[in-house]
């Protein structure tokens, strides 16, 4: 009870604070005095460091290094000097003044359906240049395998995700990081790459080795080169030339333990310490939705943004189902979700935090959180200001006397409603039979009075031949003319269809995009071993600038929680969001490959040819026929007949 009261008063203090800093984007407030208040600040103060040093000397030693770097970065010139002139201060085991930084973060969002959404973010920042001539050879936190891929293939940006299950936007709201079912890969290459297609092919092969996935199935038949979507997420100072962009999805890709194992190995602490100990495959794959991703991009190193650092962001999102993994009880704990509890932060991490979304629960009337935390944080994420309870794993006090943290969320009431997402989309195949069909894409704008633009990208395999003349876009029963259309027709067995459209969605409306298609006949060797399962068509990608409820933070260099800092924001009034529709499963005309069928075919052929021709010979009567006139003469006779002239 005391804990609850403290939480309430914390909130009051916090609200006052937030009204003072009205324009601020991410603040952390705390009520209790003493050293806990000091603990909030990031980077920690000297007294606190001393305290920690007493508690865990080994860990503290590393933290010293990390904080040193952090303080040095705002003034890069000074930091540079420090690096070279005073290497003796660094720990002997590591490189002189490592300019890399690792942060880990877990966000838990209780969903109204009783499910729970957990999102892990691990970020490694490294101040280096992979593109310079002499190769980078000394790696510390950044995984060497990926660093070598970046320099070998001149990658400017790389985004890869593996997802099982479909994100249900209407039930769960918007995810922090969207991803389509199956595997998705999009890469921006440097301008220096001459043979983009060849490099892309090699890159996919290497990546399929790194992630134990079938990415080598990415070839020209499922790769597209979007003309307007997928702008680079990192920084750059040159104009973006879409010739250096490649995008591909494999909607059928399986995601299982063998993909998680290499993904975990990329983390500095592996799965040995920190938040990653929670990543046990038996639990993670026993869920409604599982998505793991790796994003590599250049980001600003400091506020001036004159130099770049490389950011490796590894994310893992999972939604646990109330009934299959929660046994129907509205009660979640770390142990119930992951079958582990937390005992320490990753010693290499400069920050290690757990955020619990308590926005819908300001007075604790929806659910109860234990152990209670005094620390609250606010962040603008996906156009909304959310409040989070924060657990800082680098503080020993977080783990309490039992030295283990097992967060417990217990629901008190099942009431309350979720804010409807402003944008969502769905897609299905209509029509019957195996010859033609129609793809319907529905885009919902749920905003009561504002319209906003969306960019729709559709990549359809060549074996569905789109009739582009049947393309219609309608909203509210009226034709909605897209302001930009880019269509690239397919070539059989070479490249897929690519359709990109910029459409303005009127307020409170449903916009329907339909296009008819014809199913192609494949050669018999082109069918998969299980052709009756059907063929997948990847998700449509919808990128949009959705009006924001609160002012967005446009200063991308400010320190923010990781989950709110992925998409850069250019204006305050709207935020960028990318959503994916369902992939389609389409049946193609499929021959019967089974053995009985083939035996019947063979038998019937023998009977028809052997018996049939014999029967024909025996029953046919032969007579001599007059030679028939030539083709030209026959045509001339037909015309003469019409003219009433006697035939030739």
């Amino acid at each position: 009870m005391a804990a609850r009261r403290r939480l309430v008063s914390a909130l009051l203090v916090f609200l006052c604070a937030s009204s003072v800093f009205s324009g601020a984007e991410s603040q952390e407030a705390t009520l209790t005095g003493g050293h806990r208040a000091a603990a909030v600040d990031d980077p920690p103060t000297d007294t606190e460091r001393a305290e920690q040093a007493a508690e865990q000397p080994a860990v503290e030693e590393r933290r010293w290094e990390a904080t040193e770097v952090e303080e040095a970065t705002p003034d890069e010139a000074a930091g540079e000097k420090q690096d070279t002139s005073a290497p003796g201060t660094a720990a002997p085991s590591s490189a002189p003044q490592p300019k890399d930084d690792f942060q880990e973060e877990l966000v838990v969002r209780p969903l109204h359906s009783g499910d729970i959404y957990a999102s892990f973010q691990f970020r490694t920042l490294w101040e280096t240049d992979f593109t310079r001539e002499n190769k980078v050879s000394h790696y510390r936190l950044f995984p060497k395998s990926l660093g070598q891929v970046i320099s070998k293939f001149s990658v400017r940006e790389l985004h890869i995700s593996f997802t099982q299950g479909y994100w249900r936007t209407m039930q769960w709201g918007q995810p922090f990081l969207p991803s389509p079912p199956g595997a998705e890969l999009w890469v921006w290459f440097q301008d220096s790459v001459t043979d983009v297609d060849g490099t892309w092919k090699e890159l996919t092969n290497v990546l399929s080795g790194i992630f134990c996935a079938s990415l080598n199935f990415i070839d020209s038949t499922n790769t597209v080169q979007p003309s307007a979507s997928f702008k680079p997420l990192g920084i750059g100072n040159e104009a973006t030339d879409h010739r250096f962009l490649r995008y591909a999805t494999l909607p059928r890709e399986i995601v299982c333990t063998e993909n998680l194992t290499p993904w975990k190995k990329l983390l500095p602490c592996g799965s040995k310490a920190g938040l990653a100990v929670l990543l046990k495959s038996e639990k993670l794959f026993h869920s409604s939705f599982h998505s793991q991703a790796v994003h590599i991009r250049p980001v600003c190193e400091d506020r001036q943004c004159k130099t770049t650092s490389w950011e490796l962001r590894q994310t893992l999102n999972v939604v646990f189902d109330l009934y299959t993994s929660g046994q129907g009880k509205r009660e979640w704990s770390l142990f119930k979700m992951f079958s582990r509890t937390l005992t320490e932060a990753c010693p290499l991490a400069s920050s290690s935090k757990i955020y619990i979304d308590v926005t819908d629960n300001p007075q604790g009337e929806q659910f109860e959180l234990s152990p209670a935390t005094a620390l609250l944080s606010q962040a603008v994420v996906l156009g909304d200001r959310r409040t989070f309870s924060v657990y800082d794993l680098t503080q020993q006090i977080t783990f309490g006397s039992v030295r283990s943290l097992n967060l417990l969320i217990r629901w008190k009431s099942t009431e309350g409603d979720m804010l409807r997402p402003l944008l969502h989309a769905e897609r299905y195949v209509a029509g019957y039979g195996l010859q033609t069909g129609e793809i319907h894409t529905l885009m919902y704008n749920n905003h009561p009075y504002r319209s906003f633009p969306v960019l729709l990208l559709d990549s359809v395999p060549w074996y569905l031949r789109l009739y582009i003349h049947t393309l219609t876009v309608t909203s509210k029963g009226k034709d909605n003319k897209p302001s930009y259309i880019h269509y690239q027709p397919s070539k059989d067995r070479l490249r897929p269809h690519l359709l990109e459209m910029l459409v303005q969605l009127p307020p409170n409306s449903v916009t329907e995009v339909t296009v008819q298609f014809e199913r192609a006949l494949l050669k018999w060797t082109e069918y998969t071993p299980d052709p009756n399962h059907g063929f997948y068509v990847g998700s449509s990608v919808i990128s949009s600038l959705v009006p924001s409820i609160v002012a967005m933070d446009t200063n991308s260099t400010l320190k923010r929680p990781l989950f709110s800092s992925f998409f850069p924001c250019k204006e305050e009034s709207s935020f960028f969001v990318r959503i994916y529709t369902e992939p389609l499963l389409v049946n193609l005309p499929t021959p019967d490959f089974s053995m009985p069928y083939n035996v019947i075919c063979l038998t019937c052929t023998v009977v028809a040819v052997g018996y049939g021709s014999l029967y024909n010979l025996l029953t046919r009567s032969f007579q001599i026929e007059e030679p028939s006139p030539g083709l030209a003469k026959r045509i001339a006779n037909i015309i003469r007949k019409m003219r009433g002239v006697p035939p030739l």
Binding site: N237, T261, S281
Partner: protein
Amino acid sequence: MLAGVCFGDEPCLLIPSRKTTIKHANVLIFFLFSQENAGQFFSSGHTNNWAVLVCTSRFWFNYRHVANTLSVYRSVKRLGIPDSHIVLMLADDMACNHRNPKPATVFSHKNMELNVYGDDVEVDYRGYEVTVENFLRVLTGRLPPSTPRAPSVINEQIHCWILPLHSYTVVSYIKCHGGNGFLKFQDSEEISNVELADAFEQMWQKRRYNELLFIIDTCQGASMYERFYSPNLMALASSQVGEDSLSHQPDLAIGVHLMDRYTFYLLEFLEDIHPASKTNMNDLFKVCPKSHCVSTPGHRTDLFLRDPGSVLVTDFFGSVRKVELTMETINLTGHIKQWEESAADGEPRKETYSYSDQLPVSEIIHQKPKQKDWHPPDGFILGLWTLILLVFFKTYGIKHLKHIF
């Protein structure tokens, strides 16, 4: 799996690859140590063993074939063959199949006693990648450039192969749906015993193996090794020609059989083996008597030069890596410091970077359409046709037309 991969003239890169090349390792071994000498250098023998484990069966009801393969995977990994030396091919995803009541697990024993999938499995070829072509390419090392390289494993629909390869030894193990003289892949293609024998011969000619153990668990399995003719091959099969291999361990919760009989007893046998075991091949031949297996397991040793009684099971299934300790101190920091300095020398960038707009609406709308390939103007084509017709009528005149009709 970590494998050394060299790109052209650059220094060797360490790229984790599920498809590592078996070729380099073997070439190295074979050229550095001739076979007579090898025994002296490595008296324990098994230093560079490879395993190729193949399950060729698709669909949920063939769960047991995946479990068979994974149980051998577990054993060879436990006996010391690293993931980089194991090529695992699974034709279907059983662990994360939607019908699996316990996702991310594959059990080999009733009552969910032994999870052979584990928490750190690395599958090299999966799903549609498991084809006869890929299998043969892995075995013979004839992989196209820039493909993720893989050593070799074959598995059939009902049976899979396990191929632990040795420094001078290759073991293969197949579990598959086979018939007399062939093994089915994915229910859509098959490999014949002649093709397989030729592949092994090619491996031998390329010195890709020193000794090879081939195990196949399939119906009429013995027919698969009948045609072998390459030296230093030892082959085992779960059943004779005309016999079926039978399943074992039905599980009510999962709803399918978990193992095949032969592999079940093989796994039981391997579980008792440890790296220092003195168990020899003759014990392996007796692993599943007919009373247990119902079928008659067969083996073939006439191509093998050594006496099976003197060959330890760990010669094939285990691997020992030689580690040499040095007391010399190597100072790396000096070099790295130079490095960092040279890196810092670069002239400071003047311009400021910025994030690009994610949806620049006006820019997209005013984007110039892509230049089309050159096409003669429509007026030109029209004029050309008019000219042709004019010349035609000028030559023959319109009145001649009626004579034609």
